[in-house]
């Protein structure tokens, strides 16, 4: 660290800038000139300048794959028993992410000035954009899994607020709720992962966790569970199967939001999480990740084929591309997955903002209401086309650069683990689907002839504030910003795994290993993680031998010092296969993308095949896809229905059984008391009364004698005397 690293030293200010504009806009924004949009814009552009400063210091000047700037302060302590630190971690991926987030965010802010013009909640919109930017920047700067989780939840909040921005619409309110709760389901796993990591290592910092795991404090099945748990969080946030259902609905939010949050940045946070925690994923966990990504990318692409809403198509393509990233990370393509994250942020934001520009012009989201728009909106058209070329994986565009890496790594993985060939075939096939449905979108929207003349006549190119962001993002959809000097591949290198594998599983082609015996000896364990990163100048090469799974871009010579001959041989084999795989994959992906584009041309430009005929021919399939594989219905009928039923049952149980028991006790008591009361009244008091009554009765009877008449007394007296006389006489 030297004093020239000015921006790095003040990196913590970056997230605080948008936080300040959040507070300004939420409380006084309405009263500010222009309703405060400039406050948010100013802070985020300042953040962008600082992020570029850091990028320059770290990436351009530093150019060191192992760079890491790390500061922490104690935040929460319980004497010496518990510590959570607050701090920032800036390494190469953070430096890149900072620029990605602040750049896309700045452009989206600018775009929104035009797009949201005249909205009654204009100031609140910018406040929400600011809180999102704060949370997202905090997320990428976090140095511990605890703070990453905190910001993870906060981006979820911003997403909730922005999806439901037009909350008067029931669909928007539904979508925001769905997004938050679905994410919570994923967070459940994330939390479990954090808990496992903390319970075994006692720390939260990334470096500390990796060190502890590397020291063998957490191994085997528990480590796999921790990894899968963390990944569950990513499944929610990055809309992976089976929690992908929220993202398409999230399109209810304003389109700039869809571009920023639900395409470029927040949804990629899950991928970022997997990348950040990469050293702790066991081969098993990575396999789960790879398959999840593969299933997701396929399902989403098939659904996208059958959608007509421009934003829905883009949303499903986002899900599918996130699947590519996740799959890439899962098969060991660390660099590839993160590269796709970065390139996707650019071209997808470009297309989303382009769709916003289109929607702004024609006031419809149905692509079959559009057509021929290239003539009305040339800038939107060209930039959208560039984005589409990128996502389709056409050479010289950014998507080719990153997707090709993913497919290459997938093929290498498949070649090393032949029973997992699906992990290559499905993504490769889906790459073709992607090219097809994306060009379908472009052709229907911008080519052909206008279908709705009223809408077409009113369409116009968007103002400068909306066009400028499109141009910037389109420029970033070319490959040269990423391929220049090979900087990305050089600086973003796969971190060495911290996983300690049990004996005998160090290598071999099968990534599967059974539940690790707890007694994975530390001395045994420490050995395989020894081999460090190779010379960073060339393609940094990681020796992935200890996984038996995952080759990264291994072009340089792995550092094999200290390895046995067998291991050396294995590492060389992996490097060889990887190199070979990348060559094959490149040609295949070119062929597949070309086929997809060609097919779209044939159907939607040349009209040789009528889509309606195809649709009619396979109507059930189309219905199935158009209804998104019926996931919403499935969940609605199973999990949601069951939860609601269970909740009602418990509430019934509570008010009838539990409270019923309380009331029963009360009633029984009341009866007992009444009985006692009656007993008291009738028996105890009855006895008292009986005595009284008897006395009274006796008295009444006896009273009769007391007549008060002299002749009665005289009669009795005489009678008595007579009786006595008679007794005496006899």
């Amino acid at each position: 660290m030297n004093e020239t690293n000015f921006f790095l030293k003040y990196a913590y200010i970056i997230p605080l800038l948008p936080l300040s504009s959040f507070f300004i806009n939420i409380f006084v924004g309405k009263r500010l000139p222009r309703k405060g949009d400039w406050v948010s814009l100013l802070t985020i552009v300042t953040a962008l300048v600082m992020a570029i400063g850091i990028f320059y210091e770290v990436i351009v000047q530093g150019f060191n794959p192992n760079f890491s700037y790390h500061v922490t302060y104690p935040w929460l302590t319980i004497q010496d028993r518990f510590h959570v630190n607050i701090g920032i971690l800036v390494d190469n991926i953070t430096a890149i992410m900072l620029v990605v987030v602040t750049l896309v965010s700045s452009l989206v802010h600018l775009f929104s000035v035009g797009y949201m013009h005249g909205d009654p909640k204009y100031n609140r919109f910018f406040a929400y954009l600011s809180i999102f930017s704060f949370s997202m920047l905090g997320l990428v700067l976090s140095e511990s899994v605890f703070f990453l989780f905190i910001f993870w939840e906060l981006v979820g909040l911003s997403s909730y607020l922005l999806i439901g921005f037009w909350f008067e619409k029931k669909s928007a309110a539904d979508a925001s709720k769905k997004a938050f709760i679905t994410n919570r389901v994923g967070d459940f796993g994330f939390l479990a992962g954090i808990l496992i990591l903390f319970a075994t290592t006692g720390v939260f910092g990334f470096d500390e966790i990796f060190a502890a795991v590397g020291a063998g404090k957490l191994t085997g099945t528990m480590l796999t569970m921790a990894g899968v748990g963390l990944f569950c969080g990513a499944v929610g946030k990055s809309a992976q199967f089976p929690l992908h259902i929220w993202l398409p609905d999230a399109m209810e939010g304003p389109t700039p939001v869809s571009a920023l949050i639900h395409a470029a940045t927040m949804v990629a946070a899950g991928v970022y999480l997997v990348g950040r925690m990469y050293p702790v994923f066991t081969p098993d966990a990575l396999l789960v990740i790879a398959y999840t990504g593969t299933i997701t990318l396929f399902i989403a692409a098939t659904i996208a084929l059958a959608q007509n809403d421009i934003k829905k198509i883009l949303a499903y393509s986002t899900v599918s591309q996130l699947g590519f990233m996740v799959c890439g990370l899962g098969v060991g393509g660390y660099t590839a997955g993160l590269a796709h994250l970065v390139t996707h942020a650019g071209f997808k934001a470009c297309m989303f903002l382009g769709s916003g520009s289109v929607i702004h012009a024609v006031h419809s989201q149905d692509i079959f209401d559009m057509g021929e728009l290239r003539k009305k909106m040339p800038i939107t058209f060209v930039t959208f086309l560039i984005g589409t070329l990128a996502i389709a994986g056409v050479p010289f565009f950014s998507g080719f650069f990153s997707k090709d890496m993913i497919l290459g790594d997938a093929l290498a993985f498949a070649m090393l683990n032949p029973k997992h060939y699906a992990l290559f075939i499905v993504p490769m096939f889906t790459a073709g689907l992607t090219a097809f449905y994306m060009f379908r979108l472009v052709f229907v929207t911008f080519f052909g002839h206008a279908r709705d003349h009223h809408k077409f006549d009113h369409a116009h190119e968007s103002p400068f504030t909306m066009a400028f962001p499109l141009i910037v993002l389109a420029l970033l959809s070319f490959a040269f910003p990423f391929e220049h000097n090979n900087w990305f591949k050089t600086l973003i290198v796969k971190p060495k795994s911290a996983v300690v594998l049990p004996a005998g599983e160090g290598h071999g082609s099968a990534p599967k290993h059974e539940a690790a015996p707890a007694a994975a000896g530390a001395e045994h364990a420490a050995a395989p993680v020894e081999h460090a990163m190779a010379s960073p100048a060339e393609h940094a090469a990681v020796a992935p031998a200890e996984h038996g799974s995952a080759p990264a871009a291994v072009h340089g010579a792995p550092e094999t010092a200290g390895l046995s001959a067998e291991e050396k041989e294995h590492a060389e084999h992996v490097a060889h296969v990887t190199h070979q795989a990348h060559g094959i994959a490149m040609y295949m992906s070119l062929a597949v993308a070309g086929t997809g584009i060609l097919l779209a041309v044939v159907v939607y430009i040349l009209g040789w095949i009528n889509p309606a005929t195809v649709k009619a021919a396979c109507l059930p399939v189309h219905t199935f896809l158009a209804n998104k594989w019926y996931f919403d219905e499935l969940y609605g009928m199973t999990i949601i229905a069951f939860t609601m039923w269970a909740a009602r049952m418990m509430a019934w149980f509570d008010s009838n059984v539990v409270d019923g028991a309380v009331n029963l006790v009360a009633t029984v008591n009341k009866w007992a008391c009444m009985f006692v009361g009656r007993f008291d009244n009738l028996v105890v008091d009855g006895a008292v009364n009986a005595v009284a009554n008897a006395t009274i009765g006796g008295g009444t009877v006896l009273r009769r004698i007391q007549t008060g008449k002299v002749y009665h007394y005289a009669f009795v007296l005489v009678g008595g005397v007579v009786v006595l006389f008679l007794l005496k006489a006899f």
């Binding site: 319980i78 909350f167 619409k169 928007a172 539904d174 479990a192």
Partner: protein, 513 residues
């Protein structure tokens, strides 16, 4: 000043009582005077609480060590049976005393809408505050019991006279249920009294710290079976207050019927009496039985969390939903305590504080809408966020606080409970924690679902003219929101108060000296 310095806890406890007496002397028809007097009376304990916060030595632990207590006042009260007037504060009670003074002050202001017999209401309210303060400050079991029972009486009348349509039922239910718990406590209290001897004088006493000294236990207190029975007696007494499943059903009734400010007191402070009692009395006096019962206690906590959340999901009355959310949130306290780890114990204690702040906001907010719409049916509204944005803002803050959003204290408390319970040495707690995290998902579901049905979607034309939240209502909510945000972002101001005592408490229960 010496008076204040030496008798700060007594002043906090009895100033409200004096205020109540003075209020009763105000002639009829002077409602403004009564209100002013009530506010002024509750300001004093609040100011003293600030002083308490400033003067409290964070390094001392207290718990079972007399010298660890601060602001101590120790006098003989009833010499014939050795009852002492013994007040003192440590990390277990300090946060609760502060919470009580704050919530009481705000609740008085929230009571300004009361029209019926305001004088009586305020007098009873202040009497209630005396009871609460005394309970949190007492270190003599007899004194504790007196204050504990003292709370019952005003609460009964406050619900029974100023409550909703079913107020008599709710008041009697609350009274009898709590009284039943108190009697179990009384039995245990007497058993403790007769089976311990002060090591210095050799006589029976009610000193809690003496009870905590295991060597003073004699007679039947040496039999584990008896100790279990006494533990259960005390536990049920406290559990009713928390309230723990299955003793919780008085709570929804009492909450729904009680006037807003009383619901605030009930949920914000009274529920904490239960968990406070466990920390202050139950755990340190019966550490062996506590360890014996960690699983049932944790399981009850988990049942509370999940079951309370599920019940909340099914409610149609907003206030009842909030009431069940309290059931759910108090479950976290028990789970954290049962783990017997410093993190879990601090988490439980922090949850008590956090829940006190957040649930008070929730009840105040429910009261706001009830005052205007005269009903609380969740489905009876719709889209009112468009009409009352400021009110909605506070509801969103409180709801998200309640569902555990970072930046608000509930999140940290829950996380600490989870971390503490997951990292405990007791096997099987991991499963319990995983089950309880379902409560977090359900928590998000019922809060957001209610938020949507009441505030979002198309506006129900019936409420197009709904009045925005007014200045007085804002005055009660803003301080709570500020405290919530500060503690959510930086919890140390409160955690520092608790830490030493909580760590000590864990050590005491685990017999680690």
């Amino acid at each position: 000043m010496a008076l204040i310095d030496n008798h700060i806890l007594s002043l906090m406890t009895f100033i409200p009582l004096i205020g109540a007496a003075l209020i009763l002397m105000v002639p009829k028809g002077n409602d403004k005077v009564v209100k002013t007097m009530a506010v002024v009376t509750t300001i004093f304990p609040l100011l003293l609480a600030v002083k308490l916060w400033g003067a409290y030595d964070r390094t001392l632990a207290g718990v079972n060590l007399a010298s660890g207590f601060q602001f101590v006042e120790h006098y003989v009260w009833i010499p014939s049976i050795n009852v002492d007037y013994y007040l003192g504060a440590d990390g277990i009670s300090i946060p609760m005393l502060m919470l009580t003074s704050l919530i009481s002050f705000l609740a008085v202001i929230a009571s300004f809408g009361i029209e019926k017999q305001l004088k009586g209401y305020m007098a009873l309210f202040l009497l209630l505050e005396t009871g609460m303060m005394g309970t949190f400050a007492s270190l003599d079991f007899f004194l504790f019991y007196v204050f504990w029972e003292l709370m019952l009486l005003p609460m009964y009348f406050l619900i029974g006279i100023w409550g909703g349509p079913r107020k008599e039922y709710a008041a009697i239910k609350f009274f009898l249920y709590t009284l039943a718990g108190s009697l179990l406590m009384l039995v245990a209290l007497l058993a403790l009294y007769f089976n311990t001897a002060d090591p210095v004088t050799g006589q029976h006493c009610f000193n809690l710290l003496t009870f905590m000294n295991q060597s003073t236990h004699t007679g039947i207190l040496k039999h584990f079976d008896v100790r279990i029975l006494m533990f259960l007696g005390l536990f049920i007494g406290f559990a009713i207050k928390v309230p723990l499943f299955p003793f919780h059903t008085w709570l929804p009734d009492a909450h729904v019927e009680a006037p807003t400010a009383i619901s605030v007191i009930l949920a914000g402070i009274l529920l904490k009496m239960g968990t406070y009692g466990m920390m202050r009395i139950l755990f340190p006096i019966f550490p062996d039985v506590t360890r014996y019962f960690v699983y049932p206690m944790a399981a009850l906590g988990v049942v509370n969390i999940v079951y309370g959340a599920m019940c909340a999901l099914a409610q149609s009355d907003l206030k009842k939903m909030v009431a069940y959310s309290s059931v759910s949130h108090m479950g976290f306290c028990l789970l954290g305590m049962a783990a017997l780890t410093p993190v879990g114990m601090v988490g439980a204690s922090f949850q008590m504080f956090a829940h006190g702040i957040i649930t008070s906001m929730l009840f105040l907010l429910v009261g706001v809408v009830y005052d205007r719409a005269h009903h609380r049916q969740i489905d009876g509204f719709g889209g009112i966020a468009a009409v009352v944005p400021v009110y909605t803002f506070f509801v969103v803050v409180a709801f998200f606080g309640s569902l555990g959003l970072p930046g608000l204290p509930g999140f940290l408390a829950e996380q600490m409970v989870f971390l503490g319970a997951f990292a405990t040495a007791f096997s099987g707690f991991k499963t319990l924690v995983i089950i309880s995290t379902f409560g977090i998902i359900i928590g998000a579901a019922y809060h957001l679902w209610a938020l949507q049905r009441v505030f979002l979607g198309p506006l129900n034309p019936k409420y197009a003219g709904l009045e925005e939240i007014n200045g007085r209502e804002l005055f009660t909510l803003v301080p709570l929101a500020i405290v919530a945000v500060i503690l959510g972002c930086y919890p140390m101001p409160v955690l520092n108060l608790m830490n030493a005592s909580m760590v000590k408490l864990v050590d005491v229960v685990k017999m680690v000296m």
